[in-house]
């Protein structure tokens, strides 16, 4: 970066272990907070319709970042491959739906945490095969979870309260006197709720990753034999990664349905979504929290923007742009992966390294 570590000495280990040891980073995060808490809710994004900017870009982006964080913990930090992300997010969504319909007075935050925990339990159950199998074979095992769970979302009518439509819908529900979810809730309240959830979850994830448990995941990922020799039980490390990751994914699923879509069917949790989340993680960069942010934003925002630009600037109709944006996104993914297989997070790091020396190359 145009700033560097030089001259910022830490005299206590505690300071060095902080999340943002550099003064300039703290300023950067402060600016981001002001932007997301004040500027964007007031003015929207430049050049875009306000409703569109909030409803189609900001809220889904933040939800997908939580999703990507969850999958990145499993795939990037613990090295266990999963294609069941979509289904696990569905578990969170359906659990949330059951909680708020069975206990209408339940606090939304409690319901959200509980549905995350339900998703974590399901994740652990379907993570059990990871103790015996690795790599491609584990993909197949998690695929089984994906298909079984989406089947259950359709066939087990109890899950959607025997609705004729087979969909789950958010009823109007208040928290502290403000309508948080449902058709009458304001986009602004939902935006702030998702934003705060995202910040809290990011903070918790970064803490866990830098501590004992996060290290045990990375040990299993990098060299499981040596990890065992240092006293890591593979059972505990792998299943805790599945649990933690599914917890995040479950919460993201509940947020997706009740704070963004408003209603959803089993299709919102199908294998295509699992692939979408996998793309986000891989494009962003495995094993990086910044990468999770970048990947989710890139994969979600680029097609939306391409569609918008095509419609407003060139007058193409929506269907043409839909296909065109898919093609363009695919091409961009390939180009990025050829340029830098470690994703956007690595590109960002390289840029930072280069900027340290800029404008003098040596």
């Amino acid at each position: 970066m145009f700033y560097k570590e030089t001259g910022q000495f830490k005299s206590r280990y505690k300071d060095e272990l902080a999340a943002f040891p550099l003064f300039e980073d703290k300023i950067g995060i402060g600016i981001l907070c002001v932007l997301t808490f004040l500027v964007i809710p007031m003015f929207g994004l430049p050049g875009l319709n306000y409703e569109f900017a909030m409803g189609a870009i900001m809220i889904p982006c933040m939800i997908f970042i939580i999703m990507t964080l969850g999958l990145n913990i499993l795939l990037g930090f613990a090295g266990q491959i999963s294609l069941g992300t979509g289904a696990f997010s569905g578990v969170g969504a359906y659990a949330f739906y059951k909680f708020i319909t069975i206990f209408p007075d339940i606090n939304i935050i409690i319901a959200l945490v509980l549905s995350g925990l339900v998703s974590a339990v399901v994740g652990v159950i379907f993570g059990l095969p990871s103790l015996k199998i690795k790599g491609f074979y584990l993909i197949v095992a998690t695929l089984a979870a994906q298909f079984f769970l989406t089947w259950a979302f359709i066939r087990v009518a109890w899950l959607y309260n025997y609705n004729a439509s087979g969909a789950i819908e958010g009823p109007n529900k208040e928290m502290f006197g403000i309508i948080m979810i449902g058709p009458q809730s304001a986009g602004m309240t939902r935006y702030y709720f998702v934003l705060v959830t995202l910040i809290v979850l990011t903070w918790l994830a970064s803490n866990v990753i830098r501590g004992r448990i996060g290290r045990s995941w990375m040990m299993i990922r990098d060299m499981d034999i040596a990890a065992e020799l240092i006293g890591i039980r593979p059972l505990v490390a792998k299943l805790s990664a599945f649990a933690f990751s599914s917890f995040y994914i479950g919460i993201a699923g509940a947020l997706m349905v009740f704070f963004w879509l408003g209603a959803a069917e089993a299709e919102s949790f199908d294998i295509n979504h699992s692939f979408l989340y996998l793309f986000m993680v891989i494009i962003g960069g495995l094993g990086s929290i910044t990468g999770s942010y970048m990947g989710a934003i890139f994969v979600w925002v680029v097609p939306v923007l391409i569609k918008e630009i095509g419609k407003s600037a060139f007058g193409f109709d929506a269907f043409v742009m839909e296909n065109f944006s898919t093609i363009l996104l695919g091409a961009m993914i390939i180009i990025i992966l050829i340029l830098e297989p470690h994703g956007l997070a690595r590109l960002w790091q390289i840029a930072k390294q280069k900027l340290r020396l800029w404008p003098f190359p040596y």
Binding site: Y13, L204, N207, R215, D222, I225, A226, L229, I230, G231
Partner: protein
Amino acid sequence: MNEKVPKIIMEVKNINLRFGGVVAIQGVSFDIHEGEIRAIIGPNGAGKSSMLNVINGFYHPQEGEIWFDGQKRPSMEPYEVAKTGIARTFQNIALFKGMTTIENVMTGRQLQMNKNIFWQMLRYGPAIEEEVQHRKRCEEIIDFLEINHIRKTPVGSLPYGLQKRVELARALAMEPNLLLLDEPMAGMNVEEKQDMSRFIVEVNEEFGTTIALIEHDMAVVMDLADRVVVLDYGKLLADGTPKEVQSNQAVIDAYLGVPH
């Protein structure tokens, strides 16, 4: 080493290890005294690494007993063995390549850390205190092995000799009772070998750690080791001080071959 009453820290008795029809180790017994440097040597395929794997709990021998700290050890998994205080380095480096040097060394402290997930999530109070306290210890070890300058480098990008040293640091961070080194000097140049030998001796003398090492460089073995075990084709060939082993006819035959 106390010559009069050497305390036996580990004893393997009559170990037999077979993989199907292949006999890897056949009736090998030896002991390791507390505080000594014990070398295990032998030609390739003699069963040296297998022996370490048996001690580590990777392999479970069909017959034989392992006594550790005066007690007969039941069949254990590697992570259970780690809890008894046995650390190890590998012949082909087994570092966590995605992590930095300091993180790798910190992994050695995993067993001593125990704060639960909720403190870990908050990274506050006991969790951060624990982290700082172990970080201090790890920094001491990093100082000791003179790898301060690569503290924050990802280990995957380090040269071979330094990687070996980081691996030793990680094993030392476990504060083991018994340290197993599998060819700590393989593939090193003379200078690196001298450094490594110095560290091994210092670890042994300063921390009083018992060390069992496998090594092919005879000069190193004869200099470092208090006692030497020689294996050949899975059998015990000789056991004694370096001098005794050097003059043992069976050992000379195994290394140089016998005229037919």
